[in-house]
Every structure is written in C-alpha cells, then in structure tokens.
C-alpha cells in the first residue's frame, strides 16, 4: 500500500502512453512505436513485462488463431512464442481446417525476457517502471497520466492495460491481501480515479493453481504428452528449419484427481473462499477452480490434471486443472492425494485474484472509451481473460491510439475479418458478465476465420497501417499468387476415365468409376483424395510448392462449397455494416421504439445498424423504426 505521494513534476511529452506491460500493454506499445509514435510504456514492475502469471502456454482453439492474426497484422506475440516455446502441438487435427489449433508450451521466463528485449531495442519506445495513480483529463479528453512518484507525462492518447493489478486482491483460504498478479503491487488509486471520472467498473475474479517442484513428481505413473514431430510455428516469418525437434522439446504429463482428492475438498468447503462469500468477483465458467468443479459436477469421480513445465531454466511445474484458493495446508493435502504427486513439494500455493474491470459496453470498437476521448483500454481491463485475448486487444488499442496521435481515422476489424473482430464486437455490443474467453463457437464465420489464412486475410491491413513491411507483404502476395495459380491449374486439368491410376484409386475406395472427364480440382474434393494423391494422377506444377501453399490449395478447393456459403452471408452483413448511426443520435426523440430497445440502444450506442441488430433486447420492429428514422434525418438535412 502506498503511504505517501511523490511531489508533482513534469516528466515529458509523448505521442502515446501505455499503462501496463502485460500481453495487452506490450502489443499496444510496440504497435504504437512501430507506427512512428513517440511511445512511453509504464509498468509497476519491469520484471512483469509480458509475464505469464497463470498457465505457461500460448494458443489453443480460437486463441491460436488470434496469435496468427496478431502476427499477420504486425504484432509480436507470434514471433515471441516461436523464439521461446518448449513444446509445440497442433490440436484438432482430426477435424476440419477451421478448428485446427496450434498450442505451444512457453518458457515463461524466456518469453518475458525476449519480449522485454524486443521492446528495449524498438526505436521510439521508452520503458519505465512506475505506478499510474491518475489520468490527466481536460474537457472530456485524456491528456496524460500522473504516477506515484509525482511524474506528470503528457500524451495525445493513453492506453490502459492494467490487468489484474487494478485494485487487485489475492485470496488463499482465510488469507486476503492487496496484490497484483504474482505478488506484485496492486494499483488502487487509478481505479478510484476511473470511478470519479464516471466509469462503470465491474469486479471479476480469476485464479491459478499451485506450482510444484518437478524433481518431486513421479512421472512414471502419469501419461506423457509429447509435442509434434511435424514442424509448426505461429509466425508467418519463422521457417520450418527453426523447428525444435521433439526430442529437444519438453513433454507435458497427464494425471487425475480421485475420490480422495474430492473428499479432502468437500471436507474443507467451509474454508473455501469460493463458497464462504469472501469472493465477490465473478469468475469464469470455462476455467473453474477445482473446488468449483467438485461442487458443480459432484457425480464425476475424477478430473484431468496436466503437469506443464514453466521453462527450461526452472524446475517449477504448473499443475493445470487444479486452480484453487483453498487454504495452503489443504492445497498440499489435495496435491498429495493425486497419483504421481504423492511426494510433490509445493513451491507456490494457488490463489484467487479479484480485480476491477471497465465494463466494456463503455467502449467504441476502436477500444476508445465513449466517456473520455483519447483514452483507450485493453486486455483484462476490458473483462477478458487469456494472454491471446489481451494481446489482440492491446494491438488494436495501440494501433488506434497511434492513429489518433497521428490524426488519422480509426482501425476496426469486423466479425468477418478476424476473431479479434468477433471478440471486440462481443465486448462492446453485449458487454460481459464473466471474464470473457474466445471460443470458436462465438464466431459465426469460423470457416473463413481460419488459422491457416490469417496472413491472407489480414496482412494487407497491417501493411496499410505501417506495421507490415513491403518485403513481408510481397512474400505473402507471392504465396497468394502461387495458391491462385495452382487452383486455376487444377481447375483446368481434366482426369479422364482412361486414367488408370485414378481408376485404381477409385476402385480401392469402392467409388463409382468415372463416366466423364472430371476437373482435377473436383477430384480433389473426394474424401479419399488429398493433394499428394492427386499429384500421382496428374503432372506436378512447374515449380515445387511449399507446404503452406499446398495446404491453402487443398483447403480452398475441398471446402469450396461451405466457404462460398459463408462468403455470401458476409456480403449480406456488409451492407448492414455500411449503414452508420450518428454517434450523437437522440434515441428519446424517436417515436415508436420499445422501452427496452431504446434503453439498450442508449447504453450501447451502436455505430452501425448491423451492430444494433446484435444487441439483445432490440427487436426487429425497433430496427425497422431506427432505419426509417435515420433515413428521415437524411431527408430533413437535404431539405435544410
């Protein structure tokens, strides 16, 4: 807790100031600086730059796609994890291309160091350790920040990415104390300042499991989960040649809780802050604590526990699946009841942490607050959870703060552009009642938003902002041209009924023999045909194609019908997106809106008719009346 205040002094002017150097703050700072803005990054502790206070991994379903999107737009997360992973795995390989998901186990310390170093080497970017107490706000616009040392920094735009430090409170059994993540200092004054400025703050809760000494795990009774042999990487720029061979990767290990574990927890629920009313914040349903799982799913007699390495230079292991805020002595008993952990030495107890969130309906899709101009928020501050969700927002907030400082127009990704667009639209349109996590089911166009085409979808946009170099863009365009040329070639080549190799293949799969010649592209659509098989039937392309190009050709052809259907839906939506709603629209002046619809519209202030249509409580008649009213307004203006 802060006991006294530093004496105020002017500490300099910047284009953009970022408050917080977690995964959101890091991306925001790098984006703003790389766009040419003089950027200041303030953090409570420089040891916490891009730190992973929870699980040491990046990616997974939906999240892995976000990492690829960040990379395509010119962000850093993809590069950074490619430099520092200890294991790489592709998930959902048995399913369609839209839901395949890359996940890496990270060396958390190396990840932090690499990101910090990248930022230290970035021109225009200043890193400074300080706690921000207050915003400088004049005439409804943010002009800078004041730190606890009294330093007053001025800027054209400010991004808040304060994470769980915002009035953070750690809870372990009966123990409760003010703290940010991983026992760092919390930031109390900034929350108070935001409340004074009129922001609606929510209180959320998240948690983390205990860490144990890896030397005390009996791996022999657990199941090994190794990485993949086949090379993968997150960044467009990382070559396959840099892939770490599986033998040099570190495996994860799987074990389970059991009825004894569950009994220990049940016997001590009277000491569980989750159930004694101590915890006020709303926790995430998709990431429950172990005590929550046991109470809510009482019939299950075991839960999975994944043991994950925290890095190469440490023996601390993360006990994934046992997030808890039980008292420390109970945590030890719980751990020791699990197979393979009988003699595990606890190094850090798990804990719950409560923190403040700026209810995200108060934001524009640029992540600028509606209340205060030039003030942006990102990451857990906006009610999300997860490093990737934070990084994605950080990038968008950083870009928009940078554009604002340069007097340029906003940058917004649509739901049909990227998972990042889906997430931000969800947040600003619906708000969130619990820490928000991206899931593939939140995306209505997930077949278009694949991880394999993030570069094709987004790199041009990154280039337009100035975050993607000409050279990098040219590389992507070359890939795109190769894909298009190969698709055109396959549409032209015909496989005739006389093609013996084709007939053998058809016969082997019990399919009907060819009656007429068929385009190679159509033949590829058959379930038993992939690109390699196809090449055995027809001539190879003039130059050998990379695995990324082949993957694109295969996906774009095999799933053409489904992709086209989604593209038609996207086209329709675009016309609704084009119908803008003026920011200062007076909803009370519109006759005929239903009360609920009017209230919701006033609260969210959607920017387009499409966004308005996604607000729950706004019914079709409200939308019809709104669009008629907008048209009326335009007519009235014409008349004037």
């Amino acid at each position: 807790m802060q006991i006294s205040q530093g004496k105020p002094f002017d500490a300099g002017s910047f284009d953009v100031i970022i408050v917080g150097a977690g995964h959101a703050g890091s991306e925001a700072a790098l984006a703003a600086a790389r766009m040419g803005n003089k950027t200041l990054l303030l953090t409570i502790s420089l040891e916490m730059v891009a730190f992973m206070p929870c699980n040491p991994s990046v990616g997974g379903p939906a999240k892995g796609i976000v990492v690829r999107e960040i990379d395509a737009l010119g962000g850093e997360m993809g590069h950074n994890i490619d430099k520092t992973y200890v294991q790489m795995r592709m998930l959902n390989t048995g399913k369609g291309p839209a839901v395949r998901a890359l996940r890496a186990q990270a060396d958390k310390h190396a990840y932090h160091r690499a990101m910090k170093q990248t930022m230290e080497e970035t021109p225009n970017l200043t890193l400074r350790q300080a706690t921000v107490d207050q915003l400088v706000v004049e005439d409804g616009a943010c002009k800078g920040v004041i730190t606890n040392t009294g330093a007053r920094y001025f800027a054209k735009a400010v991004v808040l990415a304060t994470g769980t430090a915002a009035r953070g409170k750690i809870i372990i059994g009966e123990l409760m104390y003010e703290s940010g993540p991983n026992n760092t200092q919390s930031a109390t004054k900034l929350s108070e300042n935001l409340e004074e400025l009129g922001f609606d703050l929510q209180r959320f809760k998240t948690g983390t499991p205990p860490r144990i000494n890896g030397n005390t795990i009996d791996y022999s009774v657990t199941e090994e989960q190794p990485g993949d042999e086949k090379p993968h990487h997150f960044s467009f720029d990382t070559p396959d040649s840099q892939y770490i061979s599986v033998s040099d990767q570190i495996s994860c290990w799987l074990t389970y809780t059991n009825p004894t574990t569950h009994q220990i927890i049940r016997d001590n629920l009277d000491r569980a802050p989750m159930f004694t009313g101590v915890i006020e914040g709303v926790g995430p349903r998709y990431c429950p604590s172990i005590e929550d799982k046991i109470v809510r799913f009482a019939d299950k007699d075991r839960h999975q526990v994944f043991l994950e390495p925290e890095g190469r230079d440490t023996d601390e292991w993360y006990v994934d699946g046992m997030s808890t805020s039980m008292p420390e002595e109970i945590q030890e008993k719980m751990l020791h009841s699990v197979k393979g952990l009988e003699h595990a030495k606890l190094m850090r107890p798990g804990y719950a942490i409560e923190y403040d969130v700026v209810a995200p309906y108060q934001l524009h899709p640029t992540l600028e607050t509606k209340l205060i101009k030039n003030l942006f928020t990102a990451g857990q501050t906006n009610g999300t959870s997860g490093y990737e969700e934070a990084a994605g927002q950080g990038l968008i907030a950083g870009i928009n703060a940078g554009l604002r400082a340069q007097g340029k127009g906003p940058f917004v990704l649509k739901r049909s552009d990227a998972y990042i667009g889906v997430m931000i639209d969800d947040l600003v349109t619906k708000g969130t009642k619990e820490p928000y996590r991206l899931l593939t089911s939140r995306a209505e166009y997930r077949l278009i938003l694949r991880h394999d085409n993030a570069d094709l979808r987004l790199m041009e946009k990154g280039h337009a902002i100035g975050l993607v170099s000409d050279e990098r863009l040219a590389k992507m365009e070359h890939k795109k041209a190769l894909v298009e040329a190969e698709i055109a070639r396959l549409k032209k080549i015909r496989i005739k009924p006389a093609n013996e190799a084709a007939n053998n293949l058809i016969e082997a799969h019990g399919d009907n023999p060819l009656k007429d010649a068929i385009a190679a592209a159509d033949f590829l659509k058959r379930p038993y045909v992939d690109y390699q098989t196809l090449m055995e039937l027809i001539p190879d392309p003039d130059e050998p194609l990379s695995r990324e190009v082949i993957e694109q050709v295969e996906i774009q052809l095999k799933y053409e019908g489904y992709i086209k259907k989604e593209e038609v839906k996207v086209e329709r939506l675009k016309r609704m997106e084009a119908k803008k709603i003026p920011a200062d629209l007076d909803y009370s002046a519109i006759d005929g809106l239903a009360t609920e619809g009017r209230q919701k519209l006033e609260k969210i202030r959607p920017e387009t008719l499409a966004q308005a249509s996604r607000i729950s409580g706004v019914n079709p008649a409200d939308l019809a009346i709104l669009s008629v009213y907008l048209r009326q307004g335009r007519l009235a203006k014409l008349k004037d």
Binding site: P61, L609, I625
Partner: protein, 463 residues
C-alpha cells in the same frame, strides 16, 4: 441472424380469401432469381424486359408438380414501389394455391416480409417523401403489434413445446461438437463423429417432416382438400357427386367462381373436408354426353390434391380409361371400380399393373355399396392412422412457420449430404446450427448465449 433489410422478401399482397386473383409479391436483389426457380414458361425471367407480364406455370422444383397457372410481372429496380427488383405472381387464387406459391418462394430464397416491410423499403430507398415517413413508422409499429399477437396465437403451446424439444436435442449435439473443438483434451465427453451426427440429423428430420405433414393436414382441414372426380362419360361421376353431397348435406356450400365458370362444392368425408373441383363440368358433360374427357379433366387434375378416378367395371378398359390412368399417375389417387352390381368385365390384372399399386375401392354407387370404404380410404390417405388420432396432432398452419420448417429441413439435407461427401464434423455442424437457428425463429429464441450456457452447464470444462 436477425432479419436484414437486404433480404429478399415475399408476401401475399391481396386480401386473403377475397377475389378471384391473388398476388404474391417478391422484392429484393434475388426476387427474379427466386421466381425463376419456380416458373415454367416459354420465357427466361432473368432476361425479360422490365414491366412485362409473362404467362406460365408455377412448379414445385423439388417434386416437379404444377401448382397453378400464373401471370408473372417482372419489374426491375429502380422504377418499382420498393425501388428494388419486384416480381408479382398473379395466380387464380384459392387459398391453397396462393399459400403454396408463397411457401415455395420462402423455401427458395425469400423470407416472409415483416408487417409493413414493403412500405418501409419504399421509404428507405427514397420512394416516399418525408411527410410520409411518420405514417410509415406508425404502420410498422401498429402492424408489428398486431402481427405479434397473431403470431403468438398461431404458435400454440403444443407446437412451441415440440419445437423447443427439437431445439434442445439439436443443442445437445451442437454443444458436444463445440466441446470437442474448444476442449480437445477434455476426456469426459465422447468424440462426436459424423456417424452420430447423421443419426441425429435423420431423427430430427423425421420429426420436422412429420410436422410439415401436419402442415399439409392443417391446411386441408381449413381450406378443403381439392378433389377431382375423374372418369370417362357415364362412369358414375355424377352419382358419386350426388351421393357425397347427399350424405353430408349439412355442410355443403356452393361457391361461385367470379372469373370462370367453375363451381366448387365442399363436403366433409370422414372428417376430411373435400373441395370438389369443377362439379359443374361433371354435371355438364354427363348430361350432354359430349366427347370430352381428357382436355377438361386435365385442368381439374392439375389443381387437385386428390383424384378420385372412376372406372366402369361392367365394361372392359377403354383407351380413354387408360389415358386418364396415365394422366392421373403421380397424384394422390383412389381408383373407384364402380358398377359392381353388374357383371364384371374388366381385366383386374391389367388394371392393377396400370395403376401401379394404388388403392382400388369397389363400389356400386347406385346401390350405396362401398361408400364407407371410400370414406375410410380418403381419411386414411391423409391421416395415416385415421382422423381421430390426427385431432390430437399438432398442426402447423402459419405460413412463416411452414417456410421456416422447410428451410430447417433443407439445412438437414445439407447436413446429410455433407456427411455423405466425407466432410469433417465441424463443417457439417454449420448446417446443423443453421437448422437450430431456423427453428429458433419459430419460437423466437435464437440467442447465441444458449449454446455457451449449455456448454458450461453440461460439461465440466477448463483446466
């Protein structure tokens, strides 16, 4: 997804049940395309000039059956009421044909227009001026309130429960697939395979098709089942007509057609209301013994839902009989072997082969033999288990609901063809989700958070 103001919309734009001509209006980018899918005529609607009227027929593209003879007006944007492409299908009317044409437009790319939506579009696209806009807004609000009441009334409790149960079943499947995708390492839930999804889709489809069947029954009960009595002269058509009318005097009504010399008479047989087509024609031709048969019958057969084909058992089959058998093939049909009081001279084996297994009822209409069997056969054809059980069946009667059920059925067809083509489960699921959303539009709960709620309440997720 919410309705968009860029969808192509359709509605019946003439007062229902009034006048001899009904108009189905379609407006939007795809208006002409939708009409083209249904129109059979000498012209290509996509190529005809604007403001032309085109003669032809509306044909159900799935079954190939003709619905009605129509005039189709093509009016291209921007010189139309809505300033979009507008198609108006003028049909001869009759609730049945008009509704069927509307439903065909709804299952082939259009959605049912919201109340006042044509006018709204006219305004939005600059067709009306400022002074008219207030009226437009009043209209939308008033019509919406009214239609909400109507829709609520039409969505009876049983149907709503059925649809909700269907959606719940689909949701279970969706949630399981989503869990597999978003929590690939979660071991407590079985991996949903396309084989399992196929079984589920088929089961759901059966239930939807059963509902759609009741849609047909519901319609039958309200509008009467268009029934043509067909047969060569002197076979007993007139007697059959009189007998049917005589046995059910209480609800006989005569409705004179306004534009054509057609009289429709309504009669209730075993609980199935029949609308007997062209009864005037029957009387006329029986009286004058003119050489007709085929030409006049063709018209009646075209518009019929049910054909009662009369054959004289006291004479060998004639060529005219054979022509009529051919002409009525493919229609729901009951073959009535009349005059069993006289000596049988017909080759039953030949007849059996010609009518390809359709039901034969033997009657002597003059002696009142076989009428009961005929009644039962009619009732059986449309209610499978007879009229009693069908009274307990949920009836779908609202055009919007029927259109949505058809689309849901189409979505399930896409699920099944995706599975047949070897598509992975998460792609096939796109169409399964669409089915779920469409059903949700009937009950008014298409809310995405439902899925997430289901996910997290059913499965213990998260590390």
């Amino acid at each position: 997804m919410a309705n968009s103001e860029f969808d192509t919309i359709a509605a019946i734009s003439t007062p229902v049940g009034e006048g001899g001509i009904s108009i189905i209006r379609i407006s939007g980018d795809e208006a002409i395309e939708v009409a083209k899918k249904l129109y059979h005529g000498s012209k290509d609607l996509a190529k005809v000039a604007t403001n032309t009227i085109n003669y032809g027929h509306i044909v159900d593209p799935d079954s190939g059956t003709e619905v009605d003879e129509v005039m189709v007006s093509i009016m291209r944007a921007p010189h139309t009421y809505t300033r979009e492409d507008v198609v108006e299908i003028n049909c001869h009317g009759g609730l049945l044909a008009t509704n069927r044409i509307l439903q065909l437009t709804l299952s082939h790319g259009a959605r049912l227009a919201e109340p006042g939506e044509f006018t709204k579009r006219a305004f939005l696209n600059g067709r009306l001026d400022l002074s008219q806009s207030e009226a437009v807004m009043d209209l939308i609000r008033a019509k919406t309130d009214k239609s909400m009441k109507v829709a609520l009334n039409q969505l009876d409790g049983d149907l709503s429960r059925l649809i909700k149960a269907l959606r719940k079943d689909i949701l279970d499947v969706l949630a399981q697939v989503e869990v597999n995708i978003d929590y690939p390492e979660y071991d407590a839930v079985e991996e949903m395979t396309t084989k399992m999804l196929k079984e589920k889709a088929q089961e759901v489809q059966q239930r939807i098709q059963a509902l759609l069947k009741t849609a047909k029954q519901g319609k039958v009960l309200r509008d009467g089942l268009a029934t043509a009595i067909i047969g060569r002269p002197n076979v007993g058509k007139s007697s059959l007509l009189n007998t049917l009318l005589h046995e059910d005097k209480a609800i006989v009504t005569n409705v004179a057609g306004t534009t054509r010399d057609v009289i429709e008479e309504y009669v209730n047989v075993e609980g199935v209301p029949l609308k007997l087509i062209d009864t005037a024609g029957i009387r006329h031709t029986e009286d004058t013994v003119e050489k007709i048969g085929v030409e006049r019958s063709r018209q009646a057969i075209d518009t019929a839902d049910l054909v009662l084909l009369l054959i004289d058992s006291s004479n060998p089959l004639t060529d005219e009989d054979r022509d009529l058998i051919k002409l009525t093939a493919g229609k729901p049909r009951i073959v009535i072997l009349n005059k069993t009081d006289l000596e049988n001279k017909i080759d039953l084996d030949e007849l059996g082969q010609l009518i390809n297994g359709d039901r034969i009822i033997k009657t002597s209409i003059v002696e009142h033999q076989g009428m009961e069997e005929l009644g039962e056969a009619i009732s059986h054809m449309f209610f499978d288990e007879g009229i009693e059980s069908s009274q307990n069946t949920v009836m779908v009667t609202n055009a919007r609901h029927i259109g949505l059920l058809h689309q849901a059925n189409d979505a399930l067809n896409d699920v099944l063809s995706g599975i047949a083509a070897g598509m992975p489960v998460d792609l096939v699921q796109i169409d399964m989700t669409r089915c779920w959303e469409l059903l949700g539009e009937i009950t008014g709960d298409s809310y995405q958070d439902e899925l997430l709620d289901q996910l997290f309440s059913q499965f213990c997720l998260g590390k």
